[in-house]
């Protein structure tokens, strides 16, 4: 029971990170119907930016952690948003009138470009960061096994929760959210109502990149090591989460993230750890066989 509870906490933490990245996939898919394969690498870039800024801050003497983290978050969000915007502007917008597969190919291209760029600039070795947020609470204790929730885990879960609420409000209540939903349904009509469709799409990419940068910082602080390849591994799992939850659906992305995180953690805890990815992707396949549009996705109704 205690072991189970501990795994639950770990799983939810991991799931939160996946969920935040999955939102980026799902929003972009919703608005332009393409899968932004470079999104995982945007996340990776943000983790590197966070690391660099953090070390820079420490070296100039800002050692009060909350302030340092706040600055890191703001700078990393800004820089990552620029990356997100640039990728869209360079690789997707010129191909918008092209056939559906074209931006998918350039997305894979952008993903490889970003990976190699970081590998060359930052080196291929893993980059460590000593634990920044330390301390934990003991929730239960029995037979020498303690169930703990660390401050880092609390920070991740709470941040994710707040961001989720803010994002749902943004999409459902604000004018920008309405524009995004309008562009999602009928881009031509949206343009005829005076909506700047290109700008709305750019903002979607920027928002996705912003969330990915929060995830990047949390990943960096939680695991303490990053390399140029995390974008692919974590990105593909977040993408799986988005598909599992129903691509295009915001709560679906979060739910999918949680499920993938939990499956992975529980599998590692109770079965062979080497097969944890197999377990996560198998769940995806099983769900998609029975629910082709994902858990919370709307099935496409075709009018005849």
């Amino acid at each position: 029971m205690e072991y189970f509870a501990q795994q639950m906490i770990n799983g939810v933490t991991l799931g939160s990170v996946y969920g935040l990245i999955a939102i980026g996939y799902t929003m972009v898919y919703g608005i332009i119907g393409m899968i932004n394969f470079a999104h995982g690498d945007i996340f990776m870039v943000s983790a590197f930016v966070s690391l660099i800024v953090f070390i820079a801050l420490l070296s100039i003497g800002i050692t009060w952690i909350p302030l340092a983290l706040l600055i890191v978050l703001i700078v990393s969000m800004a820089v990552t948003s620029v990356y997100g915007w640039t990728v869209e502007r360079l690789a997707y917008r010129p191909l918008r009138a092209s056939f559906r597969l074209a931006p998918l190919i350039t997305a894979i291209g952008m993903s490889i470009v970003l990976q190699n760029y970081v590998q060359i600039v930052q080196g291929a070795r893993v980059k460590p960061l000593p634990p920044v947020i330390t301390g934990s609470y003991t929730l239960m204790e029995k037979d020498g096994f303690t169930v703990q929730i660390s401050n880092m885990q609390i920070a991740i879960i709470v941040t994710t929760f707040i961001l989720m609420i803010a994002f749902s409000a943004l999409i459902s209540k604000t004018s920008l959210g309405r524009c995004q939903r309008a562009c999602e349904q009928d881009r031509t009509m949206a343009a005829l109502l005076g909506i700047n469709v290109d700008r709305t799409i750019s903002l979607t990419f920027i928002m996705g990149a912003g969330l990915a940068s929060v995830a990047g910082l949390m990943y960096l602080l939680y695991y303490g090591v990053i390399d140029f390849y995390i974008g692919f591994v974590v990105g593909i799992k977040a993408f799986t989460a988005a598909v599992l939850g129903g691509i295009g659906s915001l709560p679906g992305a979060m739910l999918g993230g949680l499920i993938i995180g939990l499956v992975e953690t529980f599998w590692s805890a109770y079965f062979a750890i080497g097969y944890k990815d197999v377990a996560a992707f198998s769940i995806l396949i099983i769900v998609l066989i029975f629910l082709p549009s994902g858990l919370l996705g709307k099935p496409e109704v075709e009018k005849i």
Partner: protein, 278 residues
């Protein structure tokens, strides 16, 4: 024509020598017409005459090969629609349009459809949505105004009791009127309606005529109408432009059009025996 006609004195929309060809097919051929405010200008013609193509040029879908589409605002500014991007034609030049097939945002509520149309003011007031998220006063009051305008149009179109329903759940006739309400929420100077009466039953098309007459008398805008339902056209329009094979064959008041032999020929065909005698 001896005396000047109302639409020639102070036109809002002035189309000159509009020409567009798709390869060898000339869809619009040297078309000129004007449209005045507080008037309903109908564009009629047989199927395939190029009416919708004219609308597509007006709203930026097609760039004409030749010609000028000038829209004159009250403040003296003149916009050349043929040179503007689609979304600017609405939010700068104030042109709104509906389609032959209904294009509402079906997954959004009726009210939201009307709020999307007013996003420009709202976006400005929301400070790039940050103000909106925090619920700042400036955005709140702006949104309240937007909702008031939306409710005004819902009442005008008799849809206010369905404000929170999904737009896709409305019956066909209501959707048609909602499209017009949405177009009006962008506060246009020129409203282009592409077959608004298509598929409506007599009662509904009568309601639509009343709505258009109502808009004409209340708002200082020019209405451009493509319509096949001649009873609607003859009843409500002040000015009719007849085109066939992309060329204008007649232009005048409903009375003049009704008696124009060229129009009768285009619609009904020419009596060949009489032609031979001539």
């Amino acid at each position: 024509m001896s005396d000047q006609l109302s639409w020639q004195i102070d036109p809002v929309l002035d189309v000159q020598n509009l020409t567009l060809a798709f390869g060898g097919l000339v869809a619009i051929d040297d078309l000129c017409f004007q449209s005045a405010r507080r008037e309903i200008t109908a564009i009629i013609g047989p199927n395939g005459a190029g009416k919708t193509t004219v609308f597509n040029c007006l709203t930026g879908f097609y760039k004409p090969d030749r010609g000028v589409i000038a829209l004159r605002h009250d403040d003296g500014n003149q916009y050349h629609l043929e040179r503007m991007a689609e979304f600017r034609i609405n939010n700068r030049a104030s042109v709104a349009r509906t389609f032959q097939n209904i294009r509402l945002f079906t997954g959004m509520s009726v009210l939201e459809n009307l709020l999307v149309a007013q996003h420009q003011k709202l976006m400005k007031a929301s400070g790039m949505t940050i103000g909106a998220l925090l619920g700042l006063g400036g955005y709140r009051s702006r949104e309240k105004q937007a909702i008031e305008l939306a409710m005004h149009w819902l009442e005008t179109t008799d849809l206010h009791y369905r404000a929170d329903d999904l737009a896709g759940d409305l019956p066909y006739g209501d959707q048609r009127r909602l499209e017009i309400a949405r177009a009006m929420c962008t506060q246009p100077l020129l409203l282009c309606l592409d077959e608004p009466a298509a598929g409506l039953n007599p009662k509904e098309s009568n309601m639509l005529s009343q709505l258009l007459l109502n808009i004409k008398s209340q708002e200082k805008i020019a209405i451009l109408l493509i319509e096949h339902d001649m009873s609607v056209v003859m009843e409500i329009s002040d000015h009719i432009v007849v085109i066939d094979y992309g060329r204008k064959i007649s232009d005048g008041t409903p009375m003049q059009i009704r008696n124009d032999p060229k129009v009768i020929a285009a619609y009904l065909g020419v009596d060949e025996t009489r032609e031979a005698v001539k």
